[in-house]
Symmetry: C2
Subunit: 257 residues, 2 copies
């Protein structure tokens, strides 16, 4: 059965999109059939995979679920498909405010496939920097959450609030929701701040924190302007290596949900 | 008369809060009476100024405007007051959806002061990473906008969308809204990406871009964990120097709005 992973954190700029795009690419490289869903009206994951000019996507699929398979598009990477975001998605927040299961119904329908066999092994969903209706839809659709955690003070402050929201969703809308783990991003291990944050995070969250850490690496910031995931843009970079290792750890953890 | 500056950009993590806190501090140092309003439910500007334990703030003031003066608190910096955010603000989005002028009525009431003289020269407002009701309120309350522009690809992609939203607000809700300027943030001038982005931004937006550029400087990321603005935490750092220069430029431009 397909496993759906939501990439969530209401703090802005912590590496949600960078993780969604590059983790998807490495999961696809390890022969899993992957769908990336861009549920952020900024459409960054869509442009990060070279599909910026998409006119239709997840918004149209939410409005008319029978069109889902037609709206999914291939990417330049084998085993990786994309359900793109379009600017119309910005208006969906209002429509989805009373529909927390809209995305779940859409994506869970992929599980059953035409002939019973699921089309994908994994579905990753990128979300906007907020805890509004779009992100609530992700929390309700995902089997498990992956939380990018920028190694900086303001980002750490927000984690408690995020985990409270997750608990509220578990207590009500989606009791089976799990946290797959937290991944430390943009770590500059040369600075005291970076070292202190990693120590704090591991002391506080223990096993929930992935061993793989994504270092600050300019190649990751350059790749989107070439509309390629990091494995295609700069496969030997420290950023690429970090996401390759993270994909391995994610595959181990996904077995257990 | 008081001038209200909104710090806005729906892209996450571009330096809105860092700019709001540190620019406010340097404007206060140049003897302007400054109020910083934190309109982001993440409450980062509030904690960046050491007021994290505030139980009441801008949400309560919006609900009951007659309490405004009592809810404003001093900071450790002369001439700088704060109207803090609290987590209750997260619920305000729904209530403010039909009230685009709520913040404006609240802040414009400060202009007339008890005895006719305004209490502040400048009011800066930090906003969340979205274009929802809280940010629309900022666009309607501000005389002018200051747009932090991270020197990276995804952040640049979002600027066109932001400026369209600004034009929509100007065409309808707030015709006098001006753009004070864009400030390039987190620039690492050693990288090609950084240099290319600065060139692109200046070529594209010309005069609107402040000459002052904020470099990536770890002291700026450290200061929030000490709950101090950069002029108190590390006044000789390149980050502090950049915000001091930005304050001078802002004061020049504010004369003209
Ligand atoms: N490990 C890294 N090293 C260097 N730059 C990075 C890294 N991860 C992300 N970036 C860059 O930092 C910026 C923020 O990352 P990204 O856009 O992925 O965050 P986000 O959480 O998706 O933001 P938003 O909250 O706006 O959706 C982007 O310009 C991205 O290219
Ligand atoms: N010039 C800089 N150099 C180094 N770090 C910076 C700089 N400016 C901001 N930061 C750090 O980068 C992170 C993002 O900045 P900040 O939180 O101010 O952005 P924001 O736009 O307010 O984010 P959000 O969209 O979540 O409100 C913070 O951890 C901050 O300390
Ligand atoms: Mg993103
Ligand atoms: Mg902020």
């Amino acid at each position: 059965a397909v496993k759906i992973i939501g990439i969530v954190n209401q703090k802005g700029g912590v590496g949600k999109t960078t993780t969604a795009v590059n983790l998807s690419a490495y999961l696809a490289l390890s022969k899993r059939r992957v769908l990336l869903v861009d549920l952020d009206p900024q459409c960054n994951a869509t442009s990060g995979l070279g599909a910026r000019e998409s006119k239709e996507g997840v918004y149209e699929a939410l409005v008319n679920p029978s069109r889902l398979l037609e709206l999914i598009i291939p990417t330049g990477q084998a085993n990786l498909d994309l359900l793109p975001a379009t600017p119309q998605l910005a208006g969906a927040g209002v429509e989805l405010a009373e529909e927390p299961y809209a995305l779940r119904e859409l994506l869970w329908s992929l599980d059953k496939g035409e002939n019973g066999a699921a089309k994908y092994d994994l579905i990753l969903v990128d979300s906007p920097p907020s805890l509004g209706p779009l992100t609530v839809n992700v929390l309700c659709a995902a089997h498990a959450l992956l939380i990018p955690l920028q190694a900086e003070y303001y980002a750490l402050e927000g984690v408690a609030g995020l985990l409270e929201s997750v608990e509220r969703v578990k207590a009500g809308l989606h009791p089976d929701l799990a946290v797959l783990g937290m991944v430390i991003t943009m770590l500059d291990a040369r600075t005291n701040l970076g070292q202190q944050v990693e120590q704090n995070v591991r002391a506080h969250f223990g096993e929930q924190v992935f061993w793989s850490v994504v270092p600050r690496n300019v190649r990751l910031a350059e790749a989107p302007s070439y509309a390629k995931p990091i494995n295609q843009y700069s496969p030997m970079s420290t950023g690429a290596e970090a996401y390759r290792r993270l994909a391995e750890e994610v595959l181990q953890r996904v077995q257990k949900i």
